[in-house]
């Protein structure tokens, strides 16, 4: 049988079948080639792009933030590394060991640790997933001791903001924080992304564009697992510029330490330039709490503190200027020729107007007082009468001339304007003009009148420098990392008050008397050898009290604010200082000695102490 079959030559029998099979092979191959052709030669370019997209990633190189320095170059805000423990889910080996090791070190319960790791498994496999941020240095060393045998765990250092002086100058320096949604929308085009840190308050915020620097980028090649293979092109980040402040940290520290009261503000400026020499707002806070992010607990306690430690009182604290405003009233009276310096007003200790009694601070009155005595002894009745004669608008004119009731133009944009009442303002808000009784209180800087310490400081500076209303400034220089100055501040005279020189010297003489005269209210600010000019103020928080009690008997929130403005006219070093002590009692009693200590320190003189009566 086999023989027979093999004799029938199979070639012919199978020829057609082989032909069919061959054609099937041809056809299938042709189909595959057509597909190949379309993939490689027709759609090739788009696949090319996809292949490039697959492997090229753009890595952001965040710039190091610039520092904030005091005028001597001492760092007030700088960068420090902060450690974050992350896991790369795709690399984890031995999840149980990780849980066992790190729950102990990090102080997590094993259950919490497990849930964190489970959560991380949902993240992209080769992206690092942070487990804990802000790890302390102790924890870092513990983790480092353990991490050598654990895969998939990484410790990353990221810069965070450090404030070496803690609460010193906290309101001026400000804080940084993660960019918020609305901020992101507002500055979206400048290249911020979620998670970036921006200045939130203070200089950190105002000079964000300088401090931030320029982001760099690096084009890297990655593989399928997202691992970094090679750098293709790289543009290094440009670090941010340093901001040099006008303030000397050691002087500021002295002022802050001297201010032991609960709340208030001190502003010291150089009258000739407007350079801020010290700026204190108490209570403060430690900006390090905000870095890299503030805990909920801390935020709540800061936010709900009745003394509002987050507010910068120097530019946002609204206080009635009280008797310090008498300088304005006096200049207005002289310039408008309502009074002459010699004319006497009899102070009986009170003044009656429209059935209302307005008391002088001196219960039994000053007797007959002229302008000089009225300022030196701060007679209220004299200025009640003057305020009544002048009217709100004329007083407002001179108040505005001194820069009161308007932002001073300091670099910090949250500055509040305060308020100088006028008939126009009163009519718009209350529908009536300023009443006589109100003019009376405006005359002594009470009533509606509200000013900020920085405004009072600039007023005082103008009294010293001959009428130049300066724009105060905090930033002396902006310095790029290589040390060259990008910007150097020049003093700006906002406007000049051109008073009659006689009036001007009269007022200055009276201010000198406040300190030097035996009956002066600011005698506690007397420094032998220095020509200190001053004016005290005691601003009432609640309307006139019937009985005069001693301060200790009055509840804290009903006590008067102690105000004190002073300038020292000694060449070549001049200074103007404003002290506001919230609920601190009388300006001459509590604020003046504080100002004296500051002045003494500034001139390097020993503190003479309170003068003997």
């Amino acid at each position: 049988m086999a023989q027979l079959r093999s004799n029938l030559v199979p070639q012919d029998y199978y020829k057609s079948r082989v032909m069919i099979f061959s054609s099937i092979i041809w056809i299938v191959m042709a189909i595959l080639l057509i597909r190949l052709w379309s993939l490689q030669l027709i759609m090739g370019e788009s696949f090319d792009d996809m292949a490039i997209e697959n492997r090229i990633r753009l890595l952001r190189l965040p710039p190091p933030r610039g520092a904030i320095l005091d005028r001597n170059g001492k760092a007030l805000a700088e960068n420090r590394p902060s450690f974050t423990l992350s896991i790369v889910p795709g690399n984890i080996k031995g999840g149980r060991e990780i849980i066992e090791t790190y729950s102990d070190v990090l102080g997590f319960s094993p259950e919490k640790m497990r849930s964190v790791i489970e959560k991380s498994l949902l993240a992209p496999r080769f992206m690092s997933f942070p487990i804990k941020k802000n790890i302390s240095l102790e924890e870092v060393s513990l983790i480092k001791a353990h991490s050598h045998d654990l895969k998939g765990v990484s410790l990353d250092a990221r810069p965070y903001r450090h404030y070496p002086f803690c609460d010193l100058l906290c309101h001026i320096i400000g804080v940084t924080g993660e960019i918020s949604g609305p901020e992101l929308e507002k500055v979206g085009r400048v290249g911020y992304r979620p998670g970036d840190y921006v200045g939130k308050t203070g200089i950190e915020r105002e000079y964000e564009t300088y401090l931030r620097g320029e982001e760099g980028w690096e084009q890297i090649e990655i593989d399928a697992k997202g691992r970094h293979l090679a750098s293709l092109t790289r543009k290094p980040a440009k670090s941010g510029a340093d901001i040099v402040l006008t303030i000397d940290a050691s002087f500021q520290k002295f002022v802050e330490d001297t201010f032991t009261e609960r709340a208030g503000s001190v502003v010291v400026v150089d009258p000739d330039t407007g350079r801020v020499l010290a700026m204190v707002s108490k209570p403060g806070y430690d900006p390090n709490l905000f870095s890299p992010s503030i805990s909920e607990l801390n935020w709540k306690s800061l936010n709900s503190d009745p003394l509002h430690p987050l507010e910068n009182r120097s530019i946002r604290g609204l206080y009635p200027p009280a008797s310090t405003f008498k300088i304005v009233t006096a200049l207005a009276g002289l310039s408008e020729r309502v009074i002459t310096p010699e004319r006497n007003v009899f102070c009986s200790g009170e003044m009656e107007l429209g059935g209302q009694v307005y008391r002088c601070w001196k219960q039994h009155g000053h007797g007959p007082v002229n302008l000089h005595r009225a300022i030196v002894e701060s007679c209220d009745v004299y200025f009640y009468e003057l305020g009544l004669k002048l009217g709100a608008d004329r007083m407002a004119k001179y108040a505005s001339l001194f820069g009161l009731g308007k932002p001073t133009g300091l670099e910090l944009s949250q500055e509040l304007p305060g308020l100088i009442p006028t008939n126009f303002w009163k009519e718009r808000n209350y529908g009536t003009f300023v009443k006589d009784g109100e003019n009376v209180t405006i005359g002594i800087g009470q009533g509606y009148t509200l000013t900020t310490p920085i405004q009072l400081a600039m007023m005082t500076a103008a009294l010293d420098n001959g009428g130049n209303v300066m724009r105060p400034y905090l930033v002396e220089e902006i310095r790029s990392r290589d040390g060259s100055a990008i910007f150097r501040q020049t003093p700006v005279v906002r406007w000049k008050i051109k008073p009659d020189p006689n009036n001007w010297s009269l007022i200055r003489k009276a201010m000198r008397g406040v300190v030097e005269d035996k009956s002066g209210t600011g005698r506690k600010c007397r420094v032998p050898g220095l020509s200190v000019y001053a004016k005290t103020g005691t601003s009432q928080v609640i309307s006139a009290r019937e009985k005069i009690k001693s301060d200790d008997d009055i509840p804290y929130h009903e006590r008067t604010h102690a105000m004190f403005v002073a300038f020292v006219d000694d060449q070549p070093k001049k200074m103007a200082v404003v002290v506001v002590i919230e609920h601190g009692g009388g300006g001459g009693k509590t604020a003046a000695p504080l100002a004296r200590k500051i002045i003494c320190r500034y001139y390097g003189l020993p503190d003479p102490g309170d003068p003997r009566e």
């Binding site: 199979p10 070639q11 061959s22 080639l33 490689q40 090739g44 292949a51 593989d223």
Partner: protein, 376 residues
């Protein structure tokens, strides 16, 4: 007197040796090693061992090719059933003792090397079917009993292979059997019945597929139909592979310069997706060359089938060619996203000892058939 199989054909064999076919296979395998080298570079140490191993397999393949070429293929007719039974036992033992790789049991560990019986099951099925189909009166298959008897020979290994699970090999086994039976021919009556049954079975397949296919198989099918459904999961292979092929263009990105390959975006690139490496680095021209070599191999093999001395030889050759054909067709189509991803290597080229050896055994059988076309 027992006939020796190293008979007078030895001389004939040397003279009529199928140089073309053998060289074609060896060139393909060498090209394969070059591609595996390229694919292996980014894999590091493991990758280097792939190249060394494949070279070793190629050497072994060439030795086997020479050895088996001189043996009369008719020995397979006699021993076919035993080989078949041996492979069945191996398949069963694989599903019991086999090593699990990538979720399926396909390997038998022989200590020195691992052996994948499903690769050789294809050859075995070809041998028994060739015997069964060659040992009958010529003419189309008219008898259902005959068809089912032949199909039965395939179904048993198909079931074992499919439960490993190795869908790719099972499909190839089945397609090879069908191809061989088609080659013999089917009576008109049978054709019409099959056509009718096919129409009826469409809904059945749908529901069958729904309940019988494993989850990963279903997922592969679904993502084949729409790869963008799951670009990072099951669709990943298809997308990345198409990107690799497409970005190759006319001339390719150059040896060792394919980004999809070198940066490990391609999955299983040294085995089932080696064609994607080829397309990316050597472009359309490179693909054409390899496909032309494969096609030449098949057409040459078919010519041998047509000239074989006996029906067994013809059927054996046809079966061998079918194996190569289906591997090439399914593999290339899969890499280009024309058919779903099933694990089918590219004959001669893909990494894998069992696959390479079985390709060389195919070559050896064809050579043997060719050199004995005039001998008795």
């Amino acid at each position: 007197m027992p006939k020796t199989y190293l008979d007078s054909g030895v001389l004939n064999s040397v003279r009529k040796f199928e140089w073309v076919l053998c060289l074609d296979g060896i060139i393909l395998a060498v090209a394969g090693i070059v591609l595996i080298y390229s694919a292996a570079i980014p894999m590091g140490g493991v990758g280097r061992s792939f190249v060394i191993k494949q070279t070793a397999w190629l050497s072994l393949g060439i030795v086997l090719l020479i050895l088996f070429s001189f043996i009369d293929y008719r020995i397979l007719e006699r021993w076919g059933l035993w080989i078949y039974l041996f492979i069945l036992v191996a398949l069963i033992s694989v599903s019991i003792f086999g090593r699990v790789t990538a979720g399926s049991r396909r390997w038998i560990d022989l200590g020195l090397m691992r052996f994948q019986p499903s690769e050789f099951a294809k050859l075995t099925v070809v041998i028994v079917l060739a015997k069964s189909l060659g040992d009958r009166r010529r003419g189309p298959l008219t008898d259902w009993v005959e068809i089912f008897r032949n199909l039965g020979l395939v179904i048993v290994p198909v079931v074992f292979v499919a439960t490993q699970p190795d869908l790719g090999t099972a499909i190839v086994l089945f397609l090879v059997a069908i191809s061989m039976m088609m080659f013999v021919g089917l009576a008109k009556r049978i054709w019409t019945t099959i056509l009718g049954l096919t129409l009826v079975s469409f809904p059945l397949t749908y529901f069958g597929g729904k309940y019988l296919l494993l989850d990963y198989q279903k997922r592969r099918l679904m993502t084949f139909l729409n790869p963008d459904l799951d670009p990072l999961g099951a669709g990943y292979q298809i997308i990345q592979s198409q990107i690799a092929v497409g970005s190759g263009g006319l001339l390719g990105k150059g040896f060792l310069k394919g980004t999809q390959n070198q940066l490990m975006f391609l999955p299983a690139k040294h085995t089932d997706f080696i064609f994607a490496v080829l397309s990316e680095e050597w472009g359309f021209v490179g693909c054409m060359t390899i496909l032309a070599l494969l096609m030449a191999f098949m057409l040459r093999g078919l010519a041998i089938a047509g000239r074989a001395r006996d029906d067994f030889g013809t059927m054996l050759s046809v079966g061998c060619i079918s194996i190569i054909f289906w591997h090439v067709a399914i593999n290339v189509a899969m890499v280009m996203g024309v058919v779903p991803v099933v694990g089918v290597p590219l004959s001669f080229v893909s990494y894998g000892g069992s696959s390479l050896l079985s390709s060389f055994l195919v070559t050896a059988i064809l050579t043997s058939v060719s050199s004995r076309r005039f001998s008795r």
